[in-house]
């Protein structure tokens, strides 16, 4: 079987593209850079398709497909970490999302970045990102996964700070990398703990060992090995996937070019955390505390971010907070045990969020670089394709059936409702869905409806070229039909997506529908409630921004403190700056720099030098040129020898005495 034996081709192609573009692309015209970059990603996508096809046609005796071991990277004692790639159902989903959406975004970027300097650099970084992301999703052990994890963090930094001459962009890149690093610290500790417990970091071996019934279930409040390891891994996931409290980098990351926001901060990199939690589900289900923490953090983040998104004025910021919020939903799903629902939402979210970002980029491109929604308006007739695709994406994210978002969000809320103590989570999740619908339609109305609030004489609104519109249309189609794979569950048929993933992800706890009919009816009711709340949000947005355009201003004025808090993101960044950053900077300056580096280390080195000088200064006096002094030194030397012979018999051979 060709590709399945050579899985390494899939990540390698983007790496080659990155290297070629990076090293040679500086002098090339845009078309050649395009060919290399698109060729690499496109070929990778085709290889991934082929690999998936081969995997799906494997006879069942060859399943589960064993990890392909390519070379030994670390061998130390009994620890072995190799460049092992595997492919199973979960990898299939992730592969399709990463390569497919990635390829579309590459096509879009050829149009969007056409006039930027550093064009080749952008594509080099983008391809490098694809490489690392593919390594991450195809890795068969935690160590290689971590390589990909770090690598996508690096590419995120490079791409956020793409306009590095702008201080805010380079600051945002640094912020992203540093906050991610904090999460990575937790991730590494988790890996160490897992290794110490199971003596391997290989997925197949580790999960097989963990499934041993000898490992008991750790109840709520019990901090055993699984709990601690899972919490640490989750800490890494909060960093990478921008959950509380490490989400602060994602809104700032909007400084990067829009395709970057679409690819990295919507569709792929930020979903790495969800992927890790889903992949490690065997470890997570052992620990009730970890599951609760994941669910609660996810739910809280979803709500929190949605509230901030209500009042933001920058179109990309709204989408950024929306991403944080939707990621919260995915973690909520994993936390309540519905891992396949979480992955399902990951997939549909990739479609409509990438579409939203790309369309936003198209809007920004159309009105000449303006990102503030208060300066837009009335664009629906002028940029028709952008408007229509963005509208479809908004319907999807709001959860209006029969688009993709409805099915995935519904699956999550249903699972949340069903588990023990899940009702508060369900309620908050429902409220968040309402808020989501509201702010997304607010975005549509502010941007596309009403009177133009921009200067019509200076800004020439034009539709984007087809290199940008093509991906928009493709993603719009996917946003519509992407959810239908799970649709039959609604009228009693099988959920194809969940059953596809079932060999990898165990069925959610408590979702074994004891009473099929009652559970099914419950699902229908909850679905109707969810749709109702989405429509309610839409209605409120319509009323506030179309019917009574002056109302939002009045509401903001009357609730000024609340409005300001939300507008300033609950002052979280300021809080971090005062509580964490300032003391650290103080320690760095006064303790580490002035004390340790200058006084201690430099002092020691300089001290040794000046010590040598002063010893030399002292010993200098023996060379006085005075013969009588020399005579005295001779006698002193003789005395020393005699003293040695006298007092220290063991040293006699040293001074020449043989007996």
């Amino acid at each position: 079987m060709p590709i399945l034996d050579h899985l390494w081709i899939i990540p390698l192609l983007p790496l080659l593209g990155s290297a070629i573009n990076g090293l040679l692309g500086g002098k090339w015209p845009n078309t050649i850079v395009n060919t290399v970059a698109l060729g690499a990603t496109g070929l990778s996508f085709l290889c991934a398709l082929e690999a998936v096809r081969e995997f799906l046609t494997l006879s069942s005796d060859k399943l589960p497909f064993p990890p392909q071991h390519y070379f030994d990277w670390i061998v130390a004692g009994s620890f072995r970490a190799g460049f092992d790639l595997e492919i199973d159902q979960l990898t299939v989903v992730m592969l399709m999302v990463v390569t497919g959406v990635g390829f579309l975004i590459h096509i879009y970027s050829t149009g969007y970045m056409a006039h930027e300097s550093g064009y080749y650099r952008f594509f080099s970084y983008l391809n490098l990102f694809m490489f690392f992301m593919l390594v991450l999703v195809m890795a068969a052990n935690y160590v290689l996964l971590f390589v990909g994890w770090e690598g996508v963090g690096l590419c995120s930094y490079l791409l956020i700070g793409f306009y590095f001459l702008k201080k805010s962009a380079s600051d945002a890149g640094k912020k992203a990398f540093i906050v991610n690093r904090i999460g990575d610290f937790g991730f590494m500790l988790g890996m160490f703990l897992l290794f110490r417990t199971f003596h391997t970091l290989d997925f197949t071996t580790l999960f097989a060992a963990a499934s041993n019934p000898a490992w008991g279930h750790e109840a709520w409040g019990q901090f055993g090995t699984f709990t601690i390891a899972c919490l640490l891994l989750f800490m890494g996931a909060t960093g990478k996937s921008a959950q509380l409290p490490l989400y602060v980098w994602l809104p700032d990351a909007m400084e990067g070019p829009t395709p970057v926001s679409a690819l990295i901060h919507a569709a792929t990199m930020v979903t790495a955390g969800v992927y890790v939690v889903a992949r490690s589900h065997i470890l997570f289900v052992h620990s009730e505390t970890a599951m609760v923490v994941v669910a609660v953090v996810g739910c809280a983040t979803a709500f929190f971010a949605a509230t901030i998104g209500l009042v933001q004025t920058d179109i990309k910021r709204v989408l950024a907070y929306s991403t944080v919020s939707q990621l919260g939903y995915m973690f909520l799903a994993c936390g309540v045990g519905a891992f396949s629902a979480g992955i399902f939402h990951l997939m549909t979210h990739a479609f409509f969020k990438a579409l939203l970002f790309l369309a936003a980029g198209s809007v920004i491109h159309a009105i000449g670089g303006e990102q503030d929604m208060r300066k837009m308006g009335g664009l629906s007739t002028k940029i028709k394709y952008t408007f229509r695709t963005m509208f479809i994406a908004t319907l999807a994210i709001a959860g209006i059936p029969p688009l993709a978002g409805f099915f995935s969000k519904d699956a999550i809320l249903f699972s949340a409702f069903q588990i023990e103590g899940g009702h508060p989570l369900y309620a908050i999740g429902l409220l968040t869905a309402l808020l989501t619908s509201f702010y997304m339609f607010r975005l549509i109305y502010l941007t596309f409806y009403g009177q133009p609030r921009y200067d019509e004489h200076h800004v020439h609104v034009h539709e984007s070229p087809w290199s940008m519109l093509g991906p928009l249309v493709t993603l719009a189609v996917l946003s519509v039909i992407g959810g239908w794979i799970a649709a039959p569950a609604l009228w009693g048929g099988p959920d194809y997506f969940a059953s596809f993933l079932a060999p990898v992800l165990t069925s959610p706890q408590g979702a074994e529908a004891v009473n099929e009919a009652a559970a099914h009816q419950l699902e229908i009711i909850l679905a109707i409630v969810a749709v109702a709340s989405a429509l309610l949000g839409w209605g409120v947005a319509y009323w506030l921004y179309i019917r009574q355009p002056a109302k939002p201003e009045q509401m903001a004025k009357s609730m000024r403190p609340v409005y300001n808090t939300l507008l300033n993101k609950y002052y979280v960044d300021e809080f971090y700056a005062a509580v964490i950053i300032k003391p650290l900077m103080w320690i760095s300056t006064n303790v580490l720099w002035k004390f340790v580096d200058v006084a201690a280390i430099d002092g020691t080195v300089n001290g040794i030098a000046s010590g040598a000088t002063s010893i030399g200064d002292t010993v200098r006096h023996t060379q006085s040129g005075n013969t009588r002094s020399y005579a005295v030194w001779v006698v002193i030397g003789a005395l020393v020898v005699i003293a040695v012979i006298f007092f220290w018999p063991a040293a006699r051979p040293v001074v020449g005495m043989v007996r």
């Binding site: 013969t627 009588r628 005295v632 006698v635 005395l639 005699i642 003293a643």
Partner: protein, 167 residues
């Protein structure tokens, strides 16, 4: 007090006094003459111990050659009374303590030793020259030849060094 012991003390006192005089005297010629006295006393002690050959060599070589050389050089250089300069502080400070320390060590070493033998030859056995010569020309013939070479080198060196300047 056996006669040997008495003679020993006399000769020893002579040697020590000679050495002290060497230190005390300010004119080098007086120091040289004192040194000759010391050597003669030591020759006497060698005789007392029964090493007649060494005693003879001591007087002939040391007393008759080396000290004569010293006296000649003192005469040649017109050495006068020693001046009193005090440039080296170290010598002034450390000199006495060093000497005391040295003597202390030596005294302690001697006191610790368990030499119970008596030096000296019994009456009636006085022919150790033969032994010395046998040993010298059999076991130590190589150093013997080397020392003759050494003397040659010394002669050449002395000639070269003491030549009058060709100016």
């Amino acid at each position: 007090m056996t006669p040997q012991l008495a003679i020993f003390f006399v000769l020893a006192a002579l040697a020590v006094l000679g050495a002290l005089n060497l230190i005390i005297q300010r004119h080098p010629i007086h120091s040289a003459l004192s040194l000759i006295v010391v050597m003669i006393a030591l020759a006497g002690l060698y005789l007392l111990m029964g090493s007649e050959f060494v005693a003879a060599v001591q007087i002939i070589v040391y007393g008759g050659a080396i000290m004569v050389l010293f006296v000649f050089v003192i005469m040649l250089l017109n050495a006068g009374v020693e001046e009193r300069t005090n440039v080296s502080k170290l010598a002034g400070v450390a000199g006495i303590p060093l000497a005391v320390a040295l003597l202390g060590f030596l005294a302690a070493a001697i006191a610790r030793s368990n030499e119970s033998a008596q030096a000296g030859v019994e009456a009636g056995t006085l022919a150790n020259t033969k032994e010395i010569s046998t040993m010298l020309f059999k076991d130590f013939v190589y150093p013997f030849e080397l020392t003759s070479f050494l003397i040659l080198v010394a002669i050449l060196g002395a000639i070269v060094l003491a030549q009058r300047e060709k100016s």
